[in-house]
C-alpha cells in the first residue's frame, strides 16, 4: 500500500462523511423553493443527526441481532465504498480497492441488510417495504451492471481509480458514449437513492413507501447511522456521475493546493448536480408501483444499446 | 388505358361504368394477345418498360381474370346495393379502384426497373385494399387494413432486398442498376452471400403479396369479408407476387447459392401446403375454405418454382393460368351463394339444389377441378410437379401427396355437409312442418313447438343475373377445355418463357 493511497484512505471517507448530509439538505431546499417555500437550513441534516444520536434507541421485542447490526454494517460498508470513489484526488490504485464489481457487490450487501432489517421488526410496513425494494432492485440490477460495464469499457479498466485517472482534469468527457452512460448513471442515482419518480423520500404515508418503510422501526442512534449511510450512498453515486461527465479539476497528484482546489470544485459540482436532481424531482410525479418495472426496462434498453454501440461501432 | 380511367369518373350509370371496366379488361387482353403473336420479343419500350414472354403471359392471365370479374361485378354490385350493403355513392370509387388495379398491375408487370415494379406493386396493394374495404362494414375495414399492413410491411423488406441488389450491382458493375435485364446478365458476378440475403428479403416481400405462409394471414380475412369481386382481384395480385419470385429465382439460378434459395422456396411451399391443409379441414366458412385453398396452391407453385428444373417451371406456369380460371369459378359460385344466404357459413346453406342449382354445380365442379381431378387441367400440372419433386426427395412427394389428399377431403367434407341440407315438408296435424334434414340426421320438431316458433320458410330464391352466371360457366368451360386439349401455341409460349428465363 503506497502513501498516496494511505492519504486517500484518510482523506476521502472523512470528506465524504462530512459533505454527505449537506447535499441531502440542499436537495430538500431546492424542492422547497420549487414549491414556493423556503425549506430547511443547509445544515439542517447535521443538526438532525446530532439530535438523533442523543435519542433513546428502542427495539421491538421480536427483533433479533439483524436490527441491531444493520445500521453499523450499512455505514461501514459505505465507508469502504467511499474508498472506491475518488472525490478529491485520484490515488494510485492499490490492490482490489477500487474494483467496480466489488463496489456493486458492496452496494448490494448494504441493500440486502437494509431489507433484512426492515423484515426483522415484524411490522407489516417493514415487510412491505422490503419486498418492494427487493423486487425493484432485481430489475434495476441489470441496468446497473451494464452501465458500469459500459463505463469500464470506455475507460478501459475495471478499477475506478484507474478509470478516473484517465478522465481526471479534462473538461469534456473523452468519448461521446460517456454522455450516454451518464444518462444511465443518473437514472441509477435516482433509483438507488429512492427519489422521485421512483419513490418519494418525503412521504409520510407508509403505504407509498419503498425505501423509508424499511427503516421505519429504527430509532435514535441506529436511525442516525442509517440516515448517514443513505446520504453517503447518494454522495458516492453523485461522485461517480460527476467524475464521468465533468471531471474538470480532479487532481491526480498529492499537492495540498491542488487537492484543496479539487475538493472545492467537487463541492461546487455536487451542488450543481444536487440542484439538477432537486429540479428533476420537482418536475415529476411518483410513478405507479407496477409501472416501475417498465421504466426500469426502458433504462435497461437504453444502457444495453449504449454498450452495444460502444462495443460494435 | 388512361382514357378508360378518365371516362370512369364521368358516368353515373352503373351499366356504363361496368361496361367501361369490362372494356378496359378486354383491351388489355387483346393487347397482350396481339403483342404475343406479333411482336418480336423480348422488346423494350423506352427506358423502363420491357416486354417479354413471361410478363405478357402473366398479363394475359390477369386481364382474362379481370374481364370475367368485370362481367360478374355488375350483377353482384347491383344486388349489394339492393341489399343496402354497398352505398351507391361508393360505386364510382369502386370502379375507379377496379380499373386502377388493372392499370397498375400492368405497369408493374411491364416494368424493367425493379424499383418501379416495387412501387406499382404497392399501388396494387392499395387499390385492392380499397376494393376490400368498399363494403361499409367494420370487419371489411379491418380486413383491408390487415391486408395493407402485412403486405406493405413485407414489401418494405423487399425494398431492403432491392437495396442489396443495388449495392451488389454497384460493386460488380461500377454503376448501380435495378433493371431485371441488366441484373440477369451479370448475376453470376455477384457476391453469393449478398445475393442470397437479397433473395431472402425479396422473397419475404413478394411472398406476402402472393399469400405464402407465414405471411398469408391477410388472405382468409380478405377473401371472407370482401365482396367476391374483390376476392378475385386479390387473387390476381397474388400472381404478381409469384411473378416477382420467378424473376428473382431465375436471377439466382446461375450463382452458387441456388441450392439455398431452392430450399427456402421448397420449405415455404411445404409449410404453406401443410398449414393450409390442416386449416381447411376445420373450416365452416366457404370463402375461408377457398382462401386456404389459395394458400395451398401458392405453396405448390413455390415448390414447382423451387425445384428448379425446366419441366417443373413449365407446369408451374401452366398452373398459374388454370388456377386463376378455377378459382374464379369457385368464387363466382360462392358469391352467388353468399347473395342467396347472406352468409358464407356452412350451417346456413339449405336447399342449395332447389335454390341455386347452377351455383351449386359450379361449386362442385370447381372443387373437383381445384383438388386436381382429371380431366381438369390442374391434374397434369400437379402430377408433373409432384413427379419432379420426387427427384428432390421421395419423402417430399409423399408428404405433399398426403396433404393434398387432406385438402381434397376438406372440400368434400364441406360440400357434403353443406349441400345435403334439405328442407323436407311433412304433413303433420294439418300444419305443414318444414324441417331441415342433413345427410343421415333428421331433426323433427313437433307441431306444438312449431306453432309457437317461426316456421322455417323457404327463403326467396335469389335471382341470379345473367352477368353473374356467364363468367362462371365460361371459366369452367375454359378450364375444362385446357384440361382436355393442350394447345400448341400455349406450349410454345411456355417454352419460350423458360428459354428466356435462362433455364436450359
Amino acid at each position: 500500500m503506497n502513501t498516496s493511497f494511505l492519504l486517500f484512505a484518510l482523506l476521502n471517507p472523512l470528506f465524504a462523511l462530512l459533505a454527505a448530509p449537506l447535499y441531502m439538505a440542499l436537495i430538500r431546499k431546492i424542492k422547497a423553493y420549487a414549491q414556493g417555500r423556503k425549506g430547511p437550513r443547509l445544515f439542517q441534516v447535521y443538526y438532525d443527526l446530532k439530535k438523533l444520536m442523543k435519542k433513546e434507541t428502542v427495539y421491538s421485542p421480536t427483533s433479533s441481532w439483524v436490527m441491531r447490526f444493520t445500521p453499523y454494517l450499512n455505514l461501514s460498508t459505505l465507508l469502504v465504498c467511499s474508498l472506491f470513489v475518488p472525490l478529491v484526488f485520484v490515488p494510485e490504485p492499490a490492490g482490489g480497492l477500487g474494483n467496480i464489481i466489488v463496489f456493486l457487490y458492496l452496494l448490494a450487501l448494504e441493500r440486502f441488510f437494509t431489507a433484512l432489517g426492515g423484515l426483522d421488526a415484524g411490522s407489516a410496513f417493514g415487510g412491505m417495504g422490503s419486498s418492494r425494494s427487493m423486487s425493484l432492485a432485481a430489475v434495476i440490477e441489470p441496468t446497473m451492471v451494464i452501465s458500469f460495464a459500459a463505463l469500464a469499457f470506455v475507460l478501459k479498466s475495471l478499477n475506478l481509480h484507474e478509470m478516473f485517472a484517465l478522465t481526471a482534469g479534462k473538461i469534456l468527457p473523452i468519448s461521446p458514449t460517456l454522455v450516454l452512460v451518464s444518462i444511465s448513471l443518473f437514472i441509477i442515482l435516482i433509483v438507488e437513492t429512492g427519489r422521485l419518480p421512483v419513490d418519494n423520500p418525503a412521504t409520510h404515508l407508509e403505504l407509498t413507501m419503498i425505501n423509508e418503510a424499511m427503516i421505519l422501526e429504527q430509532a435514535g442512534k441506529n436511525l442516525a447511522l442509517l440516515e448517514l449511510a443513505h446520504a453517503l450512498k447518494q454522495l458516492l453515486l453523485m461522485g461517480i456521475l460527476i467524475n464521468t461527465i465533468l471531471p474538470v479539476g480532479l487532481s491526480t497528484e498529492i499537492d495540498a493546493g491542488k487537492i484543496a482546489v479539487s475538493a472545492l470544485l467537487f463541492l461546487m459540482k455536487a451542488g450543481l448536480l444536487a440542484v439538477i436532481i432537486g429540479l428533476f424531482e420537482s418536475s415529476l410525479a411518483k410513478m405507479r408501483l407496477f409501472r416501475l418495472p417498465a421504466f426500469y426496462v426502458m433504462a435497461f434498453f437504453f444502457s444495453a444499446i449504449t454498450i452495444l454501440i460502444e462495443v460494435f461501432a | 388505358m388512361g382514357i378508360f380511367l378518365a371516362f370512369g369518373l364521368i358516368p353515373k350509370s352503373h351499366r356504363l361504368m361496368n361496361a367501361l371496366a369490362a372494356g378496359n379488361g378486354m383491351l388489355h387482353l387483346v393487347m397482350s394477345c396481339v403483342a404475343l403473336s406479333m411482336l418480336d420479343l423480348p422488346e423494350r419500350l423506352g427506358e423502363t418498360l420491357y416486354l417479354d414472354h413471361l410478363n405478357l403471359y402473366v398479363e394475359l392471365i390477369t386481364s382474362l381474370g379481370f374481364t370475367a370479374a368485370a362481367f360478374y361485378a355488375r350483377g353482384y354490385t347491383d344486388s349489394l346495393m339492393e341489399a343496402g350493403e354497398l352505398d351507391p355513392r361508393n360505386l364510382k370509387t369502386f370502379y375507379l379502384a377496379f380499373n386502377l388495379l388493372l392499370v397498375t398491375a400492368t405497369v408493374a408487370l411491364f416494368s424493367d426497373n425493379l424499383a418501379l415494379f416495387w412501387i406499382f406493386a404497392e399501388l396494387t396493394t392499395v387499390c385492392a385494399a380499397m376494393l376490400v374495404a368498399i363494403l361499409s362494414a367494420r370487419e371489411n375495414i379491418d380486413a383491408a387494413l390487415k391486408y395493407v399492413f402485412i403486405v406493405s410491411g413485407a414489401m418494405l423488406f423487399a425494398f431492403l432486398g432491392l437495396i442489396f441488389l443495388f449495392t451488389l450491382s454497384e460493386q460488380a458493375l461500377g454503376k448501380g442498376t435495378l433493371n431485371w435485364t441488366e441484373l440477369a446478365v451479370h448475376a453470376s458476378e455477384f457476391s453469393p452471400a449478398l445475393l442470397l440475403a437479397s433473395f431472402t428479403f425479396m422473397f419475404i416481400g413478394f411472398g406476402a403479396k402472393a399469400g405464402v405462409a407465414p405471411f398469408h394471414t391477410w388472405l382468409p380475412d380478405a377473401y371472407a369479408r370482401a365482396p367476391s369481386v374483390s376476392a378475385i382481384l386479390s387473387g390476381l395480385m397474388q400472381n404478381l407476387g409469384i411473378y416477382g419470385i420467378i424473376r428473382m429465382y431465375s436471377l439466382l439460378r446461375e450463382s452458387n447459392v441456388a441450392p439455398q434459395a431452392s430450399s427456402i422456396l421448397l420449405a415455404a411451399g411445404v409449410f404453406s401446403i401443410a398449414l393450409a391443409s390442416f386449416s381447411m379441414f376445420q373450416q365452416r366458412n366457404l370463402k375461408r375454405l377457398i382462401a386456404f385453398s389459395s394458400v395451398e396452391h401458392m405453396g405448390l407453385l413455390l415448390i414447382g418454382i423451387g425445384i428448379g428444373t425446366p419441366l417443373a417451371l413449365f407446369w408451374a406456369l401452366f398452373y398459374m393460368l388454370v388456377h386463376v380460371l378455377v378459382k374464379e369459378t369457385l368464387l363466382f359460385s360462392a358469391g352467388i351463394l353468399h347473395r342467396q344466404y347472406r352468409s358464407n357459413m356452412r350451417e346456413n346453406m339449405w336447399d342449395v339444389f332447389k335454390l341455386q342449382p347452377r351455383a351449386a354445380w359450379g361449386l362442385i365442379l370447381g372443387s373437383i377441378a381445384i383438388v386436381g381431378m382429371p380431366p381438369f387441367p390442374l391434374f397434369p400440372a400437379k402430377f408433373f410437379i409432384l413427379l419432379e419433386s420426387a427427384a428432390v426427395s421421395p419423402y417430399l412427394t409423399l408428404a405433399l401427396l398426403l396433404m393434398l389428399i387432406l385438402a381434397a377431403a376438406s372440400f368434400a367434407n364441406f360440400l357434403l355437409k353443406a349441400f345435403s341440407k334439405v328442407t323436407v315438408e311433412e304433413e303433420k296435424d294439418r300444419h305443414t312442418i318444414r324441417t331441415h334434414v342433413e345427410a343421415g340426421r333428421a331433426e323433427l320438431k313437433t307441431a306444438a313447438e312449431k306453432a309457437d316458433h317461426d316456421e322455417i320458410r323457404l327463403p326467396n330464391k335469389y335471382v341470379v343475373r345473367s352477368g353473374m352466371r356467364v363468367p362462371a360457366i365460361f371459366m369452367l368451360a375454359l378450364a375444362f377445355a385446357l384440361g382436355v386439349y393442350f394447345p400448341d401455341s400455349l406450349r410454345d409460349l411456355l417454352d419460350a418463357i423458360i428459354l428466356e428465363l435462362g433455364y436450359v
Binding site: S175, P176, T177, V179, L180, P293, A294, V297, M298, F300, F301, F302, A304, I305, T306, L308, I309, F312, A313 | D87, R89, N90, L91, K92, T93, A115, I119, E122, L123, V126, A129, M130, A133, S136, A137, R138, I141, D142, A144, L145, V148, F149, I150, S152, G153, L156, F159, L160, I163, F164, F166, T167, E170, Q171, G176, L178, S191, A193, L194, A197
Partner: protein, 228 residues
C-alpha cells in the same frame, strides 16, 4: 471543416436516440407519445442525413434531409394528429398483445440478430465501422417497426409502426449505398398510402355501420361528387 471524428461521435449518439425512439414506440401506451416518438425519430433521421452530408458532401443527402424534415416531421405528424383528434379524444390507453417489457427485451435480441446477420452478409462489401453500424440500426429499426405492427391492436399504432419501418429502410439505404431518386418516390408513395389510410381510419374504426355512414357524410369524403 468540422472534425469528422467529432461528427462521427455525434452520429453515434444520434443512433442511440433513434433506437430509443423506436423502443418508445414499442413500449409506450399513450397514443400521442407514440406520435411524438415517431416525429423525434424522423427528426433524428434528418439530422443524421445532414451530418453525413457534412462528412461526405453529396447533395443527395441534403435533399433527403430536407425532404424527410418536410414530409415526416411536419406533414405526416400533422395528418396523424388530426386523425387522433377525430377518433375519440381521450383515448389514451393502448391495448397490446405483447407487454412492453418483453418487447423491449426482444428488440435487444433483434438488434443483436441484425448485427450478426449483416456481419455475415457484408463480408464482401467494405464498409467503414460507422456505416456498418448505421446499416445494422436501419435493419433493427425495420424489425422493431414490424414488431410494433404485429403486436399492437390499434390501427394508428400499427400505422406508426409501419412508418417507423420505413424510416429503418431509409436509414439502411442511407448507409449502405447512395440511392438514386427512388427514395423520394418512396416517400411520395407513402404519403399516398397514408392519405388513403387516413380517410379509411378517420371515419371510424370502432363505430357501427350507421355511425360510419353518418361520419362519411359529415366529413364529406368519398361522396362521389355530391358534396356540393
Amino acid at each position: 471543416m468540422i472534425d469528422p471524428t467529432f461528427l462521427e461521435g455525434i452520429i453515434k449518439i444520434l443512433f442511440v436516440f433513434v433506437l430509443i425512439s423506436a423502443g418508445l414506440i414499442i413500449s409506450t401506451r399513450n397514443l400521442s407519445s407514440v406520435l411524438t416518438a415517431y416525429t423525434i425519430q424522423s427528426f433524428l433521421l434528418a439530422a443524421v442525413s445532414s451530418l453525413l452530408y457534412m462528412i461526405d458532401g453529396k447533395n443527395q443527402l441534403l435533399l433527403l434531409a430536407v425532404l424527410t424534415l418536410a414530409s415526416k416531421v411536419i406533414l405526416i405528424p400533422y395528418f396523424i394528429s388530426r386523425i387522433e383528434q377525430k377518433i375519440k379524444i381521450g383515448r389514451d390507453l393502448h391495448f397490446a398483445y405483447l407487454e412492453p417489457t418483453p418487447s423491449l427485451l426482444l428488440s435487444i435480441g433483434l438488434i443483436i440478430l441484425s448485427y450478426t446477420f449483416l456481419s455475415g452478409v457484408f463480408k464482401g462489401l467494405p464498409l467503414s465501422k460507422l456505416f456498418f453500424f448505421g446499416a445494422v440500426i436501419g435493419l433493427s429499426l425495420t424489425l422493431m417497426g414490424m414488431l410494433v405492427v404485429f403486436s399492437r391492436k390499434r390501427v394508428i399504432t400499427k400505422a406508426l409502426g409501419y412508418l417507423s419501418m420505413e424510416n429503418g429502410v431509409l436509414m439502411f439505404g442511407l448507409f449502405v449505398t447512395e440511392l438514386p431518386f427512388i427514395i423520394e418516390v418512396l416517400i411520395i408513395i407513402d404519403l399516398i398510402i397514408l392519405v388513403i389510410l387516413t380517410t379509411i381510419m378517420a371515419v371510424g374504426m370502432d363505430s357501427s355501420i350507421e355511425e360510419y355512414r353518418q361520419k362519411f357524410r359529415k366529413l364529406q369524403i368519398w361522396t362521389g361528387g355530391e358534396s356540393q
